[in-house]
Amino acid sequence: MSAAGDLPGAKPPGEELHEVRLTVNGEVRTVRVPARRLLSDCLRHDLGLTGTHVGCEHGVCGACTVLLDGAPVRSCLLLAVSAEGASITTVEGLAEPGSGLSPVQQAFRECHGLQCGFCTPGFLTTITAGLRENPDPDDGQAREMIGGNLCRCTGYQNILASVHRAAELMRAAAPAGPA
């Protein structure tokens, strides 16, 4: 553990550290990290947010997807230092505090959209942003939405069902808009 007053962040000998300010799940966090620290590692190791999973670590699997200023990105393909000043939402930040599961999380539970759960944080963040952009995807659009994320358990069918169910839940929860 770091001494009192120290910012979180490990210091390998001789490596220059950079102070990085991030708004993570609505909370301003400051870390001191070397330039080479991947955002995924910064979230997990420096900030203790282990909900973001690291699968392939080269941008293929999508497990580490987080929202950067609202848009899904691979946190393993970003240097934390380069995200200075950004607002980041991880899987931990999807549900409003005290309000239970988010609609996408609820849909995954209802539709059995996960088995081992390793890929799930990446799907949840991706679909949360995807439904914000397109609240009523058809089947093709739902497939396209999750096309950049790998799941080795479910065979994707239940994840697709979860996308549609989440859209339904969100529509039901939204106040009736203009016709």
Binding site: A71, M145, G148
Partner: protein, 297 residues
């Protein structure tokens, strides 16, 4: 799977970035979207000494149409180009190709200029730039220069951007010179093993109509079949053949004869050459239909 220690500087302006690139006495790499550079660093296939992070240079995050060119600044993300209505109206090939560039999460961060400077022979946007005979504007502390696409791609992951230089902008012609004043259309086709993955083979096609409405000519730029984008003039195979599909197999034969693809774990030479022909027909059909639609409008 972690990058080695690396120096880091984050200039606030192009002028500052050029000073940084000029004064670094070690191997410096420009970091824009990092969607190719960061994984290469993680795999230690790239080991720059210093990163010059240009993510603060918002003056370069534009996509605009000016002087008959779609101008894309070095900090414009693929998504910015893909969602630009002005760019889509001026040069629809950009959108047709960008949909094949990885996945939305990658396109949200990766930059179009970055993917061109990265010069991956499997990249879609280098092929588009080569097909349209666009250019790359680069700057260094010594001044600016423009590099035509034909001289820009030197080999796999090697472009003509020199140490100390920063690519500022890529320009895609709205009306490529190859088509002259003729009505032209574009098409793009690609085969990858998984959606969003690197192309096993891909092609961008520009086709234009003669004054009598028949196909006047066509050219194609291929990805994943050589060390850099390979441009093939298909005019001999298609010119004067009307606008029906009759000449498309001849174009495919011409492409297969001209290309010398390599083999890798995903495709043999013969399979890749076969794909090049099939994809030539598809993209050519799309381009000719596109041109005829414009003619009918």
């Amino acid at each position: 799977m972690k990058p080695r220690p690396v120096g880091y500087t984050r200039p606030e302006s192009v002028a500052e970035a050029l000073v940084a690139l000029a004064t670094v006495d070690a191997e410096a790499k420009v970091l824009a979207g990092g969607q190719s550079l960061v994984p290469l660093m993680s795999m230690r296939l790239a080991s720059p000494d210093v990163l010059v992070d240009i993510n603060r240079l918002t003056e370069l995050s534009y996509v605009r149409v000016a002087d008959g060119q779609v101008c894309v600044g070095a900090l414009a993300r693929h998504t910015d180009v893909l969602t630009s209505k002005a760019a889509a109206a001026a040069q629809p090939l950009l959108g047709k190709a960008l949909r094949f560039v990885a996945h939305p999460a990658i396109r949200n961060r990766g930059t179009t200029v970055g993917s061109i400077v990265h010069a991956d022979p499997a990249g879609e946007m280098p092929a588009v730039l080569a097909l349209l005979s666009g250019e790359v504007r680069v700057a260094s502390a010594a001044g600016e220069r423009s590099i035509p696409a034909g001289e820009f791609f030197l080999g796999p992951l090697e472009s003509d951007v020199q140490p100390g230089e920063l690519a500022l902008e890529v320009r895609f012609p709205v009306r490529p010179a190859a088509a002259g004043t003729a009505l032209a259309g574009t098409g793009f086709a690609e085969i990858s093993r998984r959606r969003g993955d690197y192309a096993v083979c891909g092609v961008a096609v520009l086709a234009w109509l003669g004054t009598d409405g028949s196909v006047g000519g066509a050219r194609a730029a291929y990805l994943s079949v050589g060390p850099a984008p390979v441009v093939v003039d298909l005019t001999d195979a298609v010119a004067g053949h009307g606008a029906d599909a009759a000449s498309f197999p001849a174009a495919a034969r011409l492409a297969r004869a001209r290309l010398a693809p390599g083999a890798d774990m995903h495709a043999t030479v013969a399979y890749r050459r076969h794909l090049a022909g099939v994809l030539t027909e598809r993209a050519l059909a799309e381009a000719v239909a596109d041109a005829r639609e414009k003619a009918a409008a």
